[in-house]
């Protein structure tokens, strides 16, 4: 069921290339500021950086509409930023402030922002997928052309929920795209030590579903694969499994010592940093100018700084919030 890579696959035009790049920079600047703020002791949170994985959600999201939905995971702030979650409430959420997307109650692993289409962020490996199916089912029942993207990791491809979800999605021809961000590690476990097959995308064959492995650090490849899968889903053609090969530069969680990683493997992966690579490509092809990118960088840095200030200047939620949102009706404690 491996997809053939046609010679003339969808190509992002210049504006779309810049759009992808802009999303990547927002992700990267945001990541950088988050780590800085944690180090300053001004954020108290477990942080799962996606540095190195910027291309994937950026190239996916330029193909999505605002009312398309995603379900993502603890390592998902890049997915949210790419999908368009505004940075102020996002920062306020990771800072546990009442101005956060979730009033500070969910925190970084559970950011939700339906306005932007971010419907679920889960801390449970594999659990983005079964829920994405339901969102896709709703879109189908509505007779809409909405699609849903389920993001998950390589490690998640070994858990039961993956299997049940892909089987159901295929049977029901749901407009859902399963995007596996294969960053070669699950916590401290190397991909091949957990996964009995060399390519996650091969598993699509178990569900009579199109499946494809792409270089998740290549914006063009990623764009083409995402675009085709999303169009197919919109057109009623059902789900696709995309395996995007990438790498997480900063280990599993902030503070990770990387001892479990092969030094050479890591160095090789880091040398393939997608941001400078895409930057060079944009400049080379004339899609962007040095000045244009410098301006973009500056604007985004300022936007991130503003979000951070907004968050840290906001109030914490009141303790009454413990009895709100447990049910629709406030409960007595």
């Amino acid at each position: 069921m491996h997809q053939e890579r046609g010679a003339n696959r969808a190509m992002p035009d210049a504006a779309t290339q810049l759009d992808i790049y802009r999303r990547m920079i927002r992700i990267e600047r945001n990541d950088d500021a988050t780590i800085r703020t944690i180090k300053q002791g001004r954020l108290q949170m477990p942080y799962y950086s996606a540095r190195g994985q910027e291309v994937i959600p950026s190239a996916v999201s330029v193909n999505l509409n605002p009312d398309d939905t995603i379900c993502t995971i603890y390592r998902g702030i890049h997915d949210m930023v790419a999908k368009g979650v505004p940075l102020r409430p996002l920062w306020a959420e990771i800072a546990g402030r009442v101005t956060g997307t979730c009033k500070g109650k969910g925190g970084p692993m559970h950011i939700t922002h339906p306005e932007s289409g971010v419907m679920v962020t889960t801390g449970i490996v594999g659990s983005s997928m079964p829920i994405a199916n339901g969102l896709a089912w709703a879109a189908k029942l509505d007779g809409s052309r909405r699609v849903t993207v389920a993001y998950f990791g390589d490690g998640a491809s070994n858990i039961g929920a993956f299997h049940e979800s892909l089987n159901l999605a295929s049977l029901w021809k749901l407009p859902v795209i399963f995007v596996c961000q294969n960053n070669r590690y699950a916590e401290h476990s190397r991909f091949d030590k957990c996964t009995a097959v060399d390519r996650v995308a091969k598993r699509a064959g178990s569900y009579d579903m199109p499946g494809e492995t792409v270089d998740g650090n290549d914006p063009f490849e990623m764009y083409a694969a995402a675009r085709e899968a999303i169009e197919r889903a919109r057109d009623g053609g059902g789900p696709t499994l995309i395996e995007a090969i990438t790498f997480r530069f900063l280990g599993h969680v902030f503070g990770d010592d990387d001892k479990y990683m092969d030094k050479a493997e890591k160095a090789a992966a880091m040398a393939r940093d997608p941001i400078p690579a895409f930057r060079a490509r944009l400049l080379e092809s004339g899609v962007a100018t040095e000045q244009g990118l410098a301006d973009m960088h500056k604007d985004i840095t300022a936007e991130v700084e503003d979000a951070m200030q907004f968050a840290l200047g906001s109030e914490f939620p009141s303790v009454d919030e413990l009895r709100r949102d447990v049910f629709a009706t406030e409960i007595a404690l």
Binding site: C71, T112, V120, I124, I131, L135, E164, S165, L168
Partner: protein, 330 residues
């Protein structure tokens, strides 16, 4: 002249409730193993006729994939629907506990109120049918202990209908328990039976000497005990809890305040069961006002056994309820 009624059993009552809700609200949808008509409309026929009437899109049979079933229900709920998910038997919720507990129950809270998950998960359970260790557990205490879930356990057809209507309409996830022993007993159900408010117990019989609290299949057992007690001149008040979480504290406490004595009965294992919460609450709230200790009855600390004599001993019998009442009558 009383309102017109129709005789139906609990399964028919659930079917009627779902049909009514689906007819009234196009957002009500249904999924589960074998629930559509080509698959027989449910293995015991609970959902028979619904896919034929409301279409294959809204009533979908699924593979055997409990995680995928509850996940799809949650997602559809986030997408604006009111899914009813059938899990064939309560023991199979063990496959879907992540979806139910980590997700359905928590998404509203974790999203700061942005998400709502108005799903109803209904399931059969109960000992007595020789299904043994893995098909008859009463696990409602787990769900009651989970913030964000409502747990409903009716005992008679009218309540099955009224409570199912309320679960479907409720903005939060509800666990709806169908007890094997109550399924096939036909009773009169008012033709206009509407929703019954969740969280409200039902005083089945008023009495003065002791309060008996039961729910689900054990209401049948408790009814028999009440009859036997009446023969011995003891006036028992019988409360059918109907909703296990949130349970009707006010109703139970008012009754025990009046009678001074309480006996709690459930089918689930006694230890760490629902009865513990109720007993602890009664004792704390009515300290010094009770005429005797609250007695809790439930299954022994054992898996459900197969062999008939063991299965009978596993289930609380009416005589055990009578004995418990007598033990506190002093």
């Amino acid at each position: 002249m009383s309102a017109p009624t129709t005789k139906m059993n609990a399964l028919q009552a659930v079917n009627a409730a779902i049909a009514e809700a689906m007819a009234a609200d196009p957002k009500v949808i249904l999924l589960g193993e074998d629930v559509a008509d080509p698959e027989g409309g449910g293995v015991v026929g609970t959902t028979r006729g619904l896919s034929t009437r409301f279409g294959d899109d809204r009533v979908k049979s699924t593979p055997i994939s409990e995680q995928a079933i509850i996940g799809a229900a949650i997602g559809a709920a986030l997408g604006g629907y009111r899914p009813i998910a059938e899990i064939m038997l309560m023991n199979f919720t063990t496959i879907a506990m992540d979806m139910i507990v980590n997700h359905a129950a928590k998404l509203r809270f974790m999203s700061g109120g942005q998400s709502q998950v108005p799903i109803t998960i209904h399931m059969l359970t109960g000992a007595g049918a020789s299904t043994a260790g893995q098909h008859a557990d009463h696990l409602e205490a787990w769900f009651a202990h989970t913030a964000g879930l409502k747990v409903v356990a009716p005992s008679c057809p009218a309540d099955y209908k009224g409570l199912m209507l309320s679960c479907i309409a409720d903005p939060d996830p509800c666990i709806f328990i169908e007890s094997m022993r109550t399924l096939f007993v036909p009773e009169d159900v008012p033709d206009d039976q509407g929703p019954i408010e969740l969280g409200r117990a039902n005083i089945i019989q008023e009495g003065n000497d002791v309060t008996i609290v039961a729910y689900s299949g054990m209401v049948i057992t408790a009814r028999e005990a009440v009859k036997k007690l009446a023969e011995e001149g003891i006036s028992a008040e019988l409360i059918d809890l109907r909703t296990v979480a949130p349970w009707d504290r006010d109703c139970v406490l008012a009754s025990v305040r009046k009678t001074g004595r309480a006996v709690l009965v459930h089918e689930a294992v006694r230890s760490f069961g629902v009865g513990a919460e109720i007993a602890a609450t009664i004792h704390e709230a009515l300290f010094g006002l009770l005429k005797g200790p609250v007695r809790r009855l439930g299954a022994p600390y054992s898996p459900v056994p197969f062999s008939k004599p063991l299965e009978n001993a596993f289930l609380v019998q009416p005589d055990a309820v009578v004995a418990a009442v007598l033990s506190v009558m002093g």
